[in-house]
């Protein structure tokens, strides 16, 4: 099944990249606040039970995809 893992910096973690993009948007006259940049990972995981596939994706997050010191993930089974 296709799975989408979205990895975001935790709320308290400084995101200089997001800040720079926010300033860039302001430079164009757009109003936007709290811009945060994350990472989107798409993968195919064998299985047909969404709950089981989600659990496998969670295990991948715990092992490698996410650094719990600075990031959190949300998993979406498509």
């Amino acid at each position: 099944m296709k799975v989408r893992v979205s990895v975001q910096l935790k709320p308290g973690i400084l995101d200089p990249q997001g800040k720079a993009v926010e300033q860039g948007l302001h430079g164009f006259g757009f109003q936007a606040e709290h811009v945060r940049i994350g990472r989107l990972i798409e993968l195919d995981i064998p299985g047909s039970d969404p709950a089981e596939v989600k659990a496998k994706a969670q295990a991948m997050c715990d092992k490698l995809l996410v650094n719990p010191v600075m990031e959190k993930a949300s998993i979406e089974v498509l």
Binding site: I13, L14, P16, L64, V69, M70
Partner: protein, 232 residues
């Protein structure tokens, strides 16, 4: 004294480490390809060098932390063997969970290369045994992700157990935000594990040991290692 220098695809300070340990100090220094399952027999110190292992894919050091050689580096550390990780080596040690915390993008967003001053916070470590408490030494940094970060409670734990080995400071040894080049919490430049045998630091002491190449502020760390390992 035997030093192993793990080399990953994208390591680029491995030769600095080999030069400092092998040429300047004359130690038996062996580069070890990341695919090797074992460190050389009798390794006293593992020096994980700087660079851009695996192109910094996913997160700095994340993929290198899974390399075959790292299993044996962990065994070495578990048995009390010494491990020094510099720059990307520090990032790898954090990703391998040999050290707490993570290194985020510099607060300035820029790659920074400059000399910095560091204050010695611990002198009871094998890495600092020949240094004086509060001693200030000058070494270069060269990184884009050196902004040391930890959850507030974990940071408090780290400080309470004296896990900070080096802090960025002024040339006179004053601590403060103005002297922190990369936004690192509490001005932390280098930390050790609980046992004190694994040190990670962003600055490059190995680039400041050869008088033919410039200042030699990094000598203290190598002299400390020499004094400790020569004893035994």
């Amino acid at each position: 004294m035997r030093v192993a220098v793990p080399v990953f695809p994208g390591s680029n300070c491995d030769h600095d480490a080999l030069h400092a340990c092998g040429t300047v100090f004359g130690w038996d220094t062996i580069p070890v390809w990341h695919q090797e399952p074992r460190l050389p027999e009798g390794t006293d110190l593992v020096f994980i060098p700087g660079g851009f292992s695996y192109g910094d894919y996913l997160r700095c050091g994340a993929i290198a932390a899974l390399a075959p050689i790292m299993t044996d580096v962990k065994r070495h550390a578990d048995q009390g063997g010494l491990v020094l990780g510099v720059c990307n080596g520090f990032q790898i040690l954090c990703e391998a969970q040999l050290l707490p915390g993570a290194l985020l993008r510099n607060a300035t967003l820029r790659f920074i290369h400059q000399d910095v001053h560091l204050r010695v916070e611990r002198t009871d470590l094998p890495f600092t045994a020949s240094m004086k408490a509060g001693e200030v030494f000058r070494v270069p940094i060269a990184h884009a992700e050196g902004n040391f970060t930890l959850e507030p409670a974990d940071l408090a734990d780290l400080e309470a157990r004296g896990g900070v080995a080096f802090r960025y400071c002024s040339p006179a040894g004053e601590i403060g935000e103005a002297h922190v080049p990369n936004g690192a919490m509490n001005g932390i430049a280098g930390i050790v594990n609980v046992r004190g045998n694994v040190l990670g630091m962003m600055p490059h002491p190995e680039r400041a040991v050869d008088p033919r190449l410039g200042p030699t502020g990094g000598l203290g760390i190598f002299r400390s290692l020499e004094s400790v390992l020569a004893k035994g």
